[in-house]
Chain length 333, copies 2
């Protein structure tokens, strides 16, 4: 195993120290329990927005903490859920009296631990609403999952809901917005290679030299099928068909589209994929009004990509366009 690390057990903590060193103007890292929090938290009069999950998906979630997005992120060990005390402490740290929204990717451990944390918060008088994100159309149940997995939509929802929270929306309205956005989101991923979890020291799964996996999960969970590598335009057609079959889009619909890299895929390939996506969307009369291309929800150094499509209306675009200032996503003031 060749990785830039010292002891695998220290990877998450040491990486977060570097995150704080690089972005100390917008966030700080709290240890024991471990979480990343906006430097100016709690922001008076604002609902706190908290997410979290296993590490290894950077920049998600710690890289999305900052003005206009998350108030706090709870990083678990690699591909392992954060504990309830991390989530409870982070929620307390960002509560200004307006309550806290939990954005939870649908994995069994995350769901249970966020639920326990919610109970702990409510016992202290902190109102919490939790919204599950389950946009991955690849498979219905999976390793670690009852129902669908939560993947790329998390990035888009954190951005949009974060903007609404910054504008002063109240907790029930934010939760309703997050649920509506999740309803309108669909994703699917493809792996060209596995990743190596540092503690394990070997590949999570193995693919042949010309083999790829369609519908891969972000922890290397099995997808729909393995097949030989195909031209990019066929793979993009496959992904768009998978997404559109599950959530039909009509001519004239407007969308935000993310072409996401899994960590080991170069940007030159991701932009090629986005070009193919745009061509097919144009043929189908569906408009890509906003887009993200890059590494946003990764699986360590896995080579692969995912496509996320979110159907939007004017209000969503206004929130999308609001300023955001995080390590992983930044625009506006």
């Amino acid at each position: 195993m060749k990785k830039f690390l010292n002891d695998p057990d220290d990877l998450v903590r040491e990486s977060l120290a570097g995150l704080e060193a690089a972005h100390g103007g917008i966030l700080r890292v709290q240890v024991d329990p471990l979480f990343v929090v906006r430097r100016d938290a709690p922001v008076p009069g604002k609902v706190g927005v908290v997410s979290g999950g296993g590490s290894g998906h950077e920049p998600m979630h710690g890289g999305f903490v900052g003005p206009g997005m998350l108030d706090a992120a709870c990083p678990g060990a690699i591909f392992t859920s954060p504990t309830p005390d991390q989530i409870e402490s982070a929620s307390r740290a960002v509560d200004s009296g307006k309550g806290v929204l939990h954005l939870v990717k649908n994995y069994t451990g995350d769901v249970l631990n966020f639920e326990t944390a919610r109970e702990l918060c409510e016992a202290q008088g902190i109102p919490v609403e939790a919204v599950l994100i389950d946009d991955d159309v690849a498979v219905k149940d999976s390793l670690y999952t009852a129902g669908r997995r939560g993947v790329g939509a998390t990035v888009l929802i954190e951005k949009i809901v974060g903007a609404a929270a910054e504008r002063g929306w109240l907790l029930p309205d934010l939760a309703a917005l997050a649920r509506a956005l999740n309803e309108e989101s669909r994703s699917i991923g493809i792996a060209l290679s596995s990743c190596v979890v540092p503690g394990a020291g070997k590949a999570t799964f193995n693919l042949g030299p010309e083999e790829i996996e369609l519908g891969i999960g972000i922890h290397g969970e099995p997808g729909r099928e393995r097949t030989a590598i195909k031209p990019a335009r066929e793979l993009v057609e496959y992904m768009i068909d998978a997404v559109f079959t599950d959530r039909p889009l009509n001519r004239g619909d407007e969308t935000i589209v993310m072409v996401n890299g899994m960590g080991g895929t170069p940007l030159i390939e991701l932009y090629l994929l986005f070009g193919e996506v745009q061509r097919i969307f144009r043929d189908r009369g569906v408009r890509i009004a906003r887009s993200l291309v890059g590494n946003y929800i990764t699986s360590l150094e896995m080579q692969g990509c995912s496509l996320t499509v979110l159907r939007c209306n004017g209000e969503t675009f206004r929130l999308w366009d609001d300023p955001v200032r995080t390590a992983g996503l930044r625009w506006g003031v």
Copy 2:
């Protein structure tokens, strides 16, 4: 070879089509000859800043075209210099009458072709100044290079000089600034793996399962030595020693530091490296006043990193902090 592409010969062009599709608000892609140019070029009263080089280093350079950075970028084939007619056409497209600055990484093909393009421009009455960037301390001469290679400093120089051009600096002053910044910049890289050039279909070089290469070039050119993988803190010490030996820094000096990924290294590792860099800088009394951590000058899907250190003064920081709006680097308005 598993990559997201159609025909290897179309990779660069198709990827640029995707870049334009995603960032059409700030840039357009001109074909025949091929270059990326600011949508609003030529900007009246402004010197045009043009760079370019082989593709495969994305987001450099096309991802750095936009307000506050480059006016145009000329992409060659993968790891191959752009041709003089690309550079000449791009220079003409961005010249507002104030002349054009060429920022050239020191590789033999780039140097020759930018030089020919400069002569072609000057024959048409367009003043051109060219500045060579040669910050890589690893080796003196190399494959494709007389003297040192130009690597990570290019990103920092394009940002800072781009800001100065946006402020209305004149051509001789911009050239002097770029040369001074290059003098103050040093870099070195480490590879954990090779990359695969699509046209070749196989790894450029081979490393053993526990072997790494110190001082690697961004095209896989040989570095200083091969060694067994070591803990990150030892590798960071090695890189800092290499940089500081070549360009000593004193207590109290202020710097911009970039920890750059080569394309296949996950962000969790890059932030860990940055944390180690900061610790050692603090011990040595040198301040990291600004930083970049991420994939900025890559080698396709190579796993590896590079460290770039730029010694700065107050004016440099003001230019650094100016707004920039490109695909690959974005802040401010």
